[in-house]
């Protein structure tokens, strides 16, 4: 069954011309020497020719083009996405989130006491967490500073772009 399927797939690829030169000569040799391959090839080629020559397209109503043109009259072509999606902003957002994740990892690993032997217990009591530590920590402060700088950079990029745009559109 698998051999049959494999033979069909190889023959279809050969008919479509998507095989390498090496595979092509291999299949050609099989078709020329093996009766089973020859019959299957003839059969598939027949289907291929039927599809090539007999497949029909349906036509919509006569008024179709006019209907579309009437409909598009109500709309305007939207500006290209690249004009309003600034790649730098996307990169900025990406950097922001990566920094956040890295920051949390650094902080998390910073909290681990590596010298203490591990336990098998994974019990975790939320009420016992000292939340004040999270916001009075040097790592957290550095992390917040980086985010603030990134935020300012993004704002600067946005304002620069707007300024440039205004200069371009203003009359000389």
């Amino acid at each position: 069954m698998n051999t049959q399927l494999n033979m069909e797939e190889q023959l279809w690829s050969y008919i479509d011309g998507t095989v390498s030169e090496e595979e092509k000569s291999f299949i050609e040799r099989l078709v020329a020497t093996n009766a089973e391959w020859k019959d299957k090839y003839r059969e598939l080629l027949e289907v291929h020719d039927l599809l090539n020559n007999n497949l029909e397209l349906d036509e919509p109503s006569m008024r179709f083009t006019q209907n579309v043109m009437d409909e598009i009259g109500k709309y305007q072509i939207a500006p290209a996405a690249k004009n309003y999606i600034n790649k730098k902003i996307i990169w900025g957002i990406g950097i922001f989130f990566i920094t956040m994740i890295v920051g949390f990892f650094v902080y998390g690993f910073g909290q681990v006491n590596w010298s203490e032997p591990g336990t098998n217990s994974y019990s975790f009591d939320l009420s016992k967490i000292d939340w004040s530590k999270f916001f009075n920590n040097t790592y957290t402060n550095i992390f917040m500073m980086i985010n603030a700088v990134l935020g300012l950079m993004l704002l600067d990029m946005y304002l620069t772009k707007r300024k440039r745009k205004l200069q371009e559109t203003s009359p000389h």
Binding site: V47, N54, F64
Partner: protein, 194 residues
């Protein structure tokens, strides 16, 4: 081959304000788009409504067409997404896009479709009726490859799949079509093969 300005020239001119030229693109691709959609809906009214929606969407997003693929490939991508969205929204009388069992049921119900007419059927009718017995995805693949002038790579882009997957799917779709023809048009197939 299409006469007149090529697709990219038309698009540039439409973007420069010659909106009426868009009609040329509609005329060029309406039957391809309509046929592919008809593979899904089976209702001409719905197919026409979806086709219209596709051309309007394409028009509105025309500035986003970068020209790094053929316009037809880009358009068929819109056909693919619009069709699926529309069918989900309207819950038309079609089954899951991948549900081939439904079409097996359809096969068993259409015994009147074969027998007495088989002898008279032309190759043309045989192929076009057999293709309607396939699942929409299979029928669409075959239509894109044989009529939409799309390569396997382009079909992969349209359907959001790897070109190799598209290749295997196309092979299987043609094998299933061959089985349908053998089952429903046995006499015709025998004539052709001999």
């Amino acid at each position: 081959m299409v006469a007149g300005p090529n697709d990219n020239e038309i698009i540039s001119r439409v973007l420069r304000g010659e909106t009426q030229l868009y009609a040329e693109l509609v005329k060029r691709y309406q039957s391809f788009v309509f046929t592919i959609i008809l593979r899904y809906t089976k209702s001409r009214e719905d197919a026409e409504e979806i086709s219209q929606d596709v051309f309007v969407k394409a028009y509105r997003s025309l500035a986003d067409f970068r020209g790094d693929s053929k316009f037809s490939t880009w358009l068929y991508t819109i056909v693919n997404t619009t069709c699926i969205t529309f069918l989900r929204k309207k819950k038309l009388d079609t089954q899951s896009l991948d549900n081939e069992k439904v079409f097996e049921v359809a096969d068993s119900q259409d015994s009147g479709f074969r027998a007495n007419q088989v002898e008279q059927k032309s190759k043309l009718r045989m192929v076009n009726e057999a293709i309607q017995l396939l699942s929409p995805d299979d029928a669409k693949l075959i239509t894109l490859f044989y009529k939409g002038e799309q390569s396997l790579e382009e079909i992969g882009n349209i359907m959001g799949i790897d070109p190799n997957t598209a290749k295997v799917k196309l092979h299987r779709a043609r094998t299933r079509l061959k089985e349908k023809m053998e089952k429903h048009f046995a006499a015709e197939v025998k004539d052709i093969m001999n």
